[in-house]
């Protein structure tokens, strides 16, 4: 009995769900725009679809975790997002939880309880 690719894919999706939000908050401590962020995340190995990321940015902005600003200086106007103070604080909490979970899972993997 082994898992198939579809099962792996759907489980990975579950695992990644929370990590994308955290990754956004961390990356956007340096302001960035939609496509730039998408490329950046891909580059560092965080898999996310454009149609998930773009709505998420707006949602996080609405929640006050990101701030945004239109930059009309460049060749084409772009909306730049940056992690707000509240976002940075939340990212810190989430990061701590994430590391804690990783340690727990490693312990379980080694067979300790």
């Amino acid at each position: 009995m082994t898992y198939d690719d579809a099962q792996l894919e759907s489980q990975l999706k579950e695992l990644r769900r929370g990590s994308v939000l955290l990754a956004c908050l961390l990356v956007l401590r340096n302001p960035g725009y939609g496509y730039g962020l998408l490329e950046k995340l891909e580059e560092v190995g965080v898999e996310v679809d454009a149609n998930t990321l773009y709505p998420m940015l707006r949602r996080l902005e609405k929640l006050g975790l990101l701030t945004s600003e239109w930059d009309t200086e460049g060749a084409r106007p772009r909306k730049y997002y940056a992690t707000s103070q509240a976002g940075i604080a939340l990212a810190g909490e989430l990061m701590a939880s994430w590391l804690e979970m990783t340690r727990t899972l490693e312990r379980l993997n080694r067979g300790e309880t």
């Binding site: 725009y33 939609g34 496509y35 998408l38 998930t52 773009y54 084409r76 106007p77 772009r78 909306k79």
Partner: protein
Amino acid sequence: MRELTERYVAAALRSIPEDQKSDIEAELRVSIDDAIEARVAGGGDARSAETEVLTELGDPDRLAAGYVGRPSYLIGPEHFFDYKRLLTVLLITVVPIVVTIVAVVQVVAGDSIASVLAQAFGSGLSLAVQIAFWTTLVFALIERGSERKTSEWTLSTLPLMPTAGTVRLGDTIGSVVFLVVAIAGLALSRTVSPVTGPDGSAISIFDPSVWDFWFPFFIVVLLIEIIFEVVKYWRGRWTWPLASLNVALNAVFAIPAVYLLTSGQIFNPVFFEEIGWGSEPAGDGTLVRVVVAAMIVIALWDIFDGFRKARKV
């Protein structure tokens, strides 16, 4: 001008509120342009780059729903169980009651059985569809309207173990169906009979005078019992007040019924003469004694059973 992109953006913006449109449009457009440009820079041709980028973005309606945080389902997990419970209760209660009322009215109006059945079935079906539609609509609106959470689930609403005096849906349906049949039977007995008089009209097994007051009264009591069954199901279990009410309902039905039976007011002597039993059974014969005994036993058992189940809870 990229034609596909134009069409895609227009489709995505369709369902976005006016005040957010320009902002989302500008952002979406530049994101698409950036993505296409990156592909072209990586050595693709512009046309297929556009196709790929838009395909990856997927259904524009879904994207738009994501942008405005609109649910992409009719009734979500937050409300689904409330929806299902309410719909079930409405369907198993309102529909039988209304069907019964329609049938009774038709029978009293003297329609044929075929017409009564057709009308009752038709009204039952259309009512069920109406209930399902409106309930679904209301919940779909609630889903889109309030941010408020639904009633918090607490342990106190936990159903009891199925053996301990809980009211099961199957029992409720069974009781309601029985009551509906009883009501229909009483109503139909007026115009339907195996025995007909010389002029071809039906001779009812029940004395025609029962319709002056008592049979309409009994039908009302039976309708109340249907409501009682529903309330009991809604409550989920027998309680002391329900068991007490059950006593009252049984008494209100059985006491007049026994009195009428023993005083010879229920059965129609003409009916029994026609089938050759003589007029005796209609008065104080074996039939009456059997019926009276059965009614008393059933009523007492039902009362006892209610308290037994209430105590178990």
